[in-house]
């Protein structure tokens, strides 16, 4: 612990690594701000988004960050709601990560609006029939509730309230992710979206993505501080990640199998599974192979319990698979032509009846990566200032497993 690479606890650390991380994160955020100001001035004409693909790469990153943010809170929920001491020790870090990632995702969403100067209008005019309006309430409430949760967790005098607030945070986050999935599930117009399965699928994917992010950040923190992650911790969290990834795969299978059953959905399934070009590639290679099969193989391979690197790799692959899944879901769902006249081939001057082309511009990459940058920057500063390093109580851990 005496090696000078620490970035937390404020003890006798060398500051240079911290400032380097801060500079990297700051540069990425600056890039996003540059992209934002350019787009705000010139309009979205500079992006690859158009009247056919209205939500593009920034939304892929934003929705991923938001879904993963609600999932990363799960670690704390397992502690506060289900009483597992292994996760209780990790609750503050999980709560902080949730806030940082939600901030990053929301920032990208807001910066991509056609009129971001109207944010006050959005905050004060609500159409409650719109699930998007409910999302705004859920997002803001999430900041408040998880902030309160963190306060109860990290203030000795308030610790007795952490279970209650933790339960509230858990329920609120279930509502948030359900609403996020329903943004797509409520769209009756498009073959790729209108499905009640969207909401629970997003919930289960949030479990997987959130835990994967948590594992990555936790492993990075331990490594920076020169502490070895105890095997007992590693084993349980890696098994949990495997369960969540398997559940996500299950939902994906059910979603596509059901679609394959409906004749009217065959075209869409053929598009995603067979001849959709980039979407087919991202689905099979990105979502399924990299996102499901490879991490499961890594996590269940013999000896993985001894290897932090294996688990970190599995988590990273799950995250990449998640980004691919978001791309296929959000952009693939838009690229597939809307079926206005079943049984007819439609052509027009407005790109009806054709698969929409989409190439993200540099500005969209900058904006999307900026969301990750904001989350990264917030996390780096937070772990430097506060005590987020999990303090495991191994005696309690043993009794937990015995109980």
């Amino acid at each position: 612990m005496a090696n000078g690479n620490c970035i937390s606890q404020g003890s006798q650390c060398r500051n240079s690594q911290f400032w380097t991380l801060l500079a990297v994160g700051g540069l990425v955020v600056l890039g996003a701000l540059y992209a934002f100001f350019t787009l705000e001035h010139h309009g979205h004409v500079l992006t690859g988004m158009d009247n056919q693909i209205v939500w593009g790469l920034p939304h892929v990153f934003a929705v991923f960050l938001i879904v993963a943010a609600s999932g990363v809170l799960n670690v704390a929920s397992i502690g506060s709601v289900f009483g597992k001491s292994l996760y209780k020790a990790r609750a503050p870090l999980s709560g902080m990560l949730a806030l940082a990632m939600l901030a990053g995702g929301l920032a990208v969403l807001v910066l991509d609006l056609g009129r971001p100067d109207r944010l006050i209008v959005a905050m004060t005019h609500y159409n409650f029939k719109s699930i998007f309006a409910w999302n705004m309430i859920f997002y803001n409430g999430f900041f408040a509730i998880v902030g309160l949760y963190l306060i109860t967790l990290m203030t000795r005098s308030l610790k007795q309230w952490s279970s209650t607030v933790g339960m509230a945070a858990f329920l609120w986050r279930i509502g948030l992710t359900t609403a996020t999935g329903s943004i797509f599930g409520f769209i009756v117009a498009r073959s790729g979206f209108n499905s009640a399965l969207m909401a629970p699928m997003f919930i289960i994917m949030s479990f997987a993505y959130g835990l994967a992010v948590f594992l990555l950040v936790q492993s990075a923190m331990y490594w920076w501080n020169g502490i070895k992650l105890d095997e007992r911790v590693l084993v349980r969290m890696k098994n949990l990640l495997a369960v969540f990834i398997a559940a996500s795969m299950y939902f994906t299978i059910v979603f596509h199998l059901t679609n394959l059953y409906f004749a009217k959905q065959w075209e869409f399934e053929r598009f995603i599974l067979l001849d959709g070009g980039i979407y087919t590639t991202l689905f099979w290679v990105g979502q399924v192979l990299i996102g499901y099969i490879a991490p499961l193989a890594l996590l269940f391979s013999p000896g993985s319990r001894h290897s932090v690197v294996t688990v970190m790799l599995a988590a990273l692959l799950a995250i990449l698979g998640g980004l691919a899944q978001m791309y296929v879901t959000i952009i693939g769902g838009q690229a597939f032509p809307m079926d206005m006249f079943p049984g007819y081939a439609v052509t027009s001057s407005f790109y009806d009846g054709v698969v929409a082309q989409y190439t993200p511009s540099m500005y969209e990459w900058l904006l999307g990566l900026g969301g990750i940058g904001i989350a990264f920057l917030a996390t780096t500063v937070a772990v430097r200032v506060f005590k987020f390093m999990p303090q495991d109580d191994f005696a309690a851990l043993e009794s937990d497993t015995k109980a």
Binding site: H42, G43, H44, V45, T47, D50, N51, Q52, V54, W55, L113, G114, R115, P116, R118, L119, V121, A122, H125, Y126, N127, K129, S130, I131, F132, A133, N135, M136, I183, F186, I187, V188, A189, R190, F193, Q334, M338, M340, F341, G343, Y344, A345, V346, T347, S348, S349, F350, Y351, D352, A356, Q357
Partner: protein
């Protein structure tokens, strides 16, 4: 009104005749002018007693004709470009039956649904349905999130990707907001019909009919009552204001 106080029934009959005459003279011009007064005064709000709708007979729609599109572009100050990011309020669709090879052309525009998905999903309520059924975007509240564009089953909405200058003063539109066909609301409020309908009538095709769906005496209501018509994507249950014949 003073009447001689007589008990005879003939006086009562006279009174009734005189009264009816006076009443008729008072009310008659009102009925006469009902036609003129019926159109809404500018200071009056739109009312749900009226529902604007359109009937399009695709059989009369000319192959390769795009007069409706041109007229719409002129009226609304659109440039008429057809790139992926360019606005189109109305466009011609060419549909071909995959099994039979049958081909048909028809104009597609905002269908001004009674249960518009775009209005349901708008987070700020900018996408709205006016009392008389016209679906509009209130650009004062629109934040440009494009959710309505995702939700529209007819791909009727466009997003403005660039700053706009030299707008038509009747049709304000600008960067960052979503827009779509308004049934030429600026014309409807002046008791005129939309530019596309006028153009189609002028060139002789007469494929588009516009009018008040709530008025059983209007030309469109009579046409709908006597001839078969259908909604596009009727299975969605949106009760569109635009109906089609011949598809």
């Amino acid at each position: 009104m003073s009447q001689p106080m007589q008990d005879s029934t003939t006086d009562r009959r006279d009174f009734l005749k005189a009264g009816t005459l006076v009443a008729g003279m008072t009310l008659g011009p009102g009925v006469l002018f009902y036609g003129v007064a019926h159109s809404r005064a500018p200071e009056e709000a739109a009312s749900s007693d009226v529902r604007w709708g359109m009937l399009i007979d695709s059989a009369k729609c000319g192959d390769g004709c795009s007069d409706c599109v041109t007229a719409c572009n002129t009226e609304n100050g659109l440039e008429g470009k057809t790139g992926p990011q360019d606005t189109q309020y109305i466009r011609k669709l060419n549909i071909k039956d995959l099994r039979t090879g049958y081909v048909k052309e028809l104009p597609m525009l905002c269908q001004h649904c009674e249960n518009p998905p775009c209005v349901d999903v708008c987070p700020t309520g900018a996408s709205m349905k006016r009392a008389d059924g016209i679906v509009l975007v209130d650009r004062h509240s629109c934040i440009g999130c494009r959710y309505c564009m995702m939700a529209c089953p007819y791909k009727a909405r466009s997003f403005v990707h660039e700053p706009i200058t030299n707008q038509n003063p009747e049709v304000p539109r600008g960067k960052g907001c979503v827009e779509s066909c308004t049934f030429c609301v600026q014309r409807v409020d002046r008791d005129e019909e939309p530019a596309c309908v006028e153009a189609c009538n002028t060139n002789g095709h007469k494929a588009m009919l516009f009018g008040d769906l709530m008025n059983p005496e209007s030309e469109i209501s009579k046409a709908l009552a006597t001839q078969a018509s259908t909604e596009v994507r009727a299975d969605l249950g949106l009760n569109t204001g635009v109906r089609y014949q011949g598809i």
